[in-house]
Symmetry: C2
Subunit: 393 residues, 2 copies
């Protein structure tokens, strides 16, 4: 795909077809407030580019039947979600429906060269399976702050080897298509906005609790990235004076006290000092513990694990309560690996927010788990690159 | 003034003339990306409405000299800033320059009827002085959350008698002109954006520390009011577990520990229990203490007062540090009555933010005092109503 919309009207039409699927010319006209003749001109130009194709006659609305149009069925986007301990790669059509999805464990600290070798192999595998002849664009998420216009990670605490690596440029060259790069949490927010629990939301927060903790901020339907691309970096908000040492160099940061990594450390300590027989048995057999072990032990009624989850939920809930007072969102979405901790976690988060924030801010505020799980990030990646490609060149 | 711009182009032209003053047609054309003929049509229509008037010939740029246009010099806006303990009323021209300004002490708890009597008397005084024949619109700030579309205060903790009072409708009737109502902190942010320290900023925070504490949030040049109008309500973020009782019903809120009101209470306690001879003398002579007494005593070297300011600055700084991590602003402006505490306060705030937030978010982050002082709110009020009037009807 080399064509791009020539103006804002064409861009609007492309996004409408992406978000609502095939549409008749008449229906499109209802939504864009263009004169009938101007609409016809813009749709014809999009048909000329090949981005849009005719799709038969629409059902009659009385009078002459309108023609259907849709985005070219051959368009393919690649969504890549690089987490701290795993990578997800998916291929979508132009409506951002996932056609194929592969996930693999990996360690982001191996650095960009090793990780991208793996990502490219996964993309090749999806292509070889016949789902795509090539990719028209790719959207990549990484677990750290990104200088967005250039697509370069900046001083990411949990992925030090990536600082300044030209992700966008390098992958664009390897894949032979346009690439956009963003923080993984922003991708999750965009995914939940496109196809998940935030479909109707204009102003919402998406809190991702995985190895670290971050927050996607959506204002008026658009991701707010901040002045230097670090907006949403709530993992390093201080929750305890003279608290635990954090990887960022400070003490008492939220993610030093609660996150997938912190929970694994706490669980191993509880196993070793005899506070949980369940965790001790799991440590004995696996050699290490993760948040998933805590979730399983809690589900089996282990009191120590329930306490760990509640305490972490309380701390995180206090931070979210502050953000709710500050930002007054219409929705808070909780996502990431730690959502395996389920309703014990959610109950603790909700209790803190509903107790601490003013009633005016929480009166109609839903606090819910994300709907898409591991497909949120890759869907968000496809959305990111499609937003870019469906903008005037 | 009854005319409103007929379309987005005219609205854009009116705002350009407001923000940049008289302009030649040629210069306007450089900024709005309209064809020369379309620009001529839109400017002519604005001349027909009377909102814009001709203003002689522009300086030559080579070739035919262009005509100057400007906003009608007779336009008058009223800016009203209702604080907890004082009210400011000013009249501006269409470029939002202050032509006259009156301030009076008052207590917002007297309720809307008594306060508006005072406000209307102040407006009448400005009119009687010959500064305005009438008002073309008024922008009002109140110290609490506002349901913005209707202009109605909602559950405001420090002004309980105002809950649900139809401020916009009532004042619009009394003044005989369109009225917009907003939180006082948002007005301060708009004022500093229009004519103060935030003139170049697109994404910034404006923290007002007065009787209470609040924060104006500007995203992409626009005030973010949140889903129910309570965005920026940072005074009720919890800074201490089981801390002091707050007027909102919770414990440990920021403004229960540091604000003009909290500082006055702390100062009276220090005077009574012998920790500050300076404060004791002032309490003896005045019968009560305010933040201004703490500022004066600190300036005279009183160690207890310096400690009070530092401790409050540290607490507030920790909250601002969290917001900087979350929002990644390009600028933080500190305003409100407590800025009389000056550089001791600013140093404490800066220390916390620069120490706790990630370097990526603070690298180029200025934290500065507002420039406009008591005129920020009234300038913001005039800006608020002009934004409304200079929008397509």
């Amino acid at each position: 795909m080399t064509a791009r919309p020539a103006n804002a009207h064409q861009a609007r039409l492309l996004r409408l077809l992406r978000d609502a699927g095939p549409n008749s010319r008449a229906q499109l006209g209802d939504q864009v407030e263009l004169s009938r003749s101007r609409l016809a001109v813009e749709v014809d130009r999009l048909l000329d580019t090949g981005l849009v194709v005719a799709d038969g006659l629409a059902a009659s609305r009385g009078g002459r039947r309108s023609h259907n149009v849709r985005l070219a069925p051959s368009l393919r986007f690649l969504g890549v979600d690089i987490g701290a301990t795993s990578v997800d790669v998916a291929v979508t059509n132009a409506e951002l429906e996932i056609l194929g999805h592969i996930a693999q464990p990996m360690d982001v600290r191996e650095g960009p060269v090793a990780i991208f070798e793996q990502v490219l192999a996964m993309a090749a595998k999806l292509r070889a399976s016949g789902l795509a002849e090539g990719f028209d664009g790719a959207g990549i998420g990484v677990p750290g702050p990104v200088r967005f216009p250039e697509g370069v990670p900046v001083a990411p605490p949990i992925m030090p080897g990536w600082d300044g690596f030209p992700v966008r440029e390098a992958l664009s060259q390897e894949l032979g298509c346009p690439v956009m790069v963003d923080n993984d949490v922003n991708l999750m927010a965009m995914g939940e906005q496109h196809a998940g629990v935030a479909r109707q939301a204009r102003d919402f927060l998406c809190v991702k609790i995985g190895t670290g903790i971050g927050c996607g901020i959506v204002v008026g339907g658009e991701v707010h990235r901040g002045t230097t691309g670090s907006a949403g970096d709530i993992g390093h908000i201080r929750v305890e004076q003279d608290g635990r040492q954090c990887a960022c160099g400070n003490k008492g940061c939220l993610e030093a006290h609660f996150s997938g990594a912190a929970l694994a450390r706490d669980a191993e300590a509880a196993a070793r000092d005899g506070r949980s027989a369940e965790l001790a048995a799991r440590l004995e057999s696996a050699g290490r513990l993760t948040a998933a072990d805590v979730a399983a032990a809690a589900a089996a009624g282990d009191a120590t694990c329930l306490d760990l989850i509640r305490e972490g939920g309380n701390r995180t809930g206090q931070v979210i309560a502050s953000l709710v007072s500050f930002f007054n969102p219409g929705l808070v979405v909780i996502g990431g690996g730690v959502t395996g901790l389920g309703h014990t976690l959610l109950a603790a988060l909700r209790t803190q927010v509903y107790r601490q924030s003013l009633p005016l801010a929480t009166g109609n505020l839903p606090i819910v788990l994300g709907e898409l799980g591991p497909t949120a990030g890759v869907t968000g990646g496809a959305r990111l690159i499609s937003d870019h490609l469906f903008s005037p060149a």
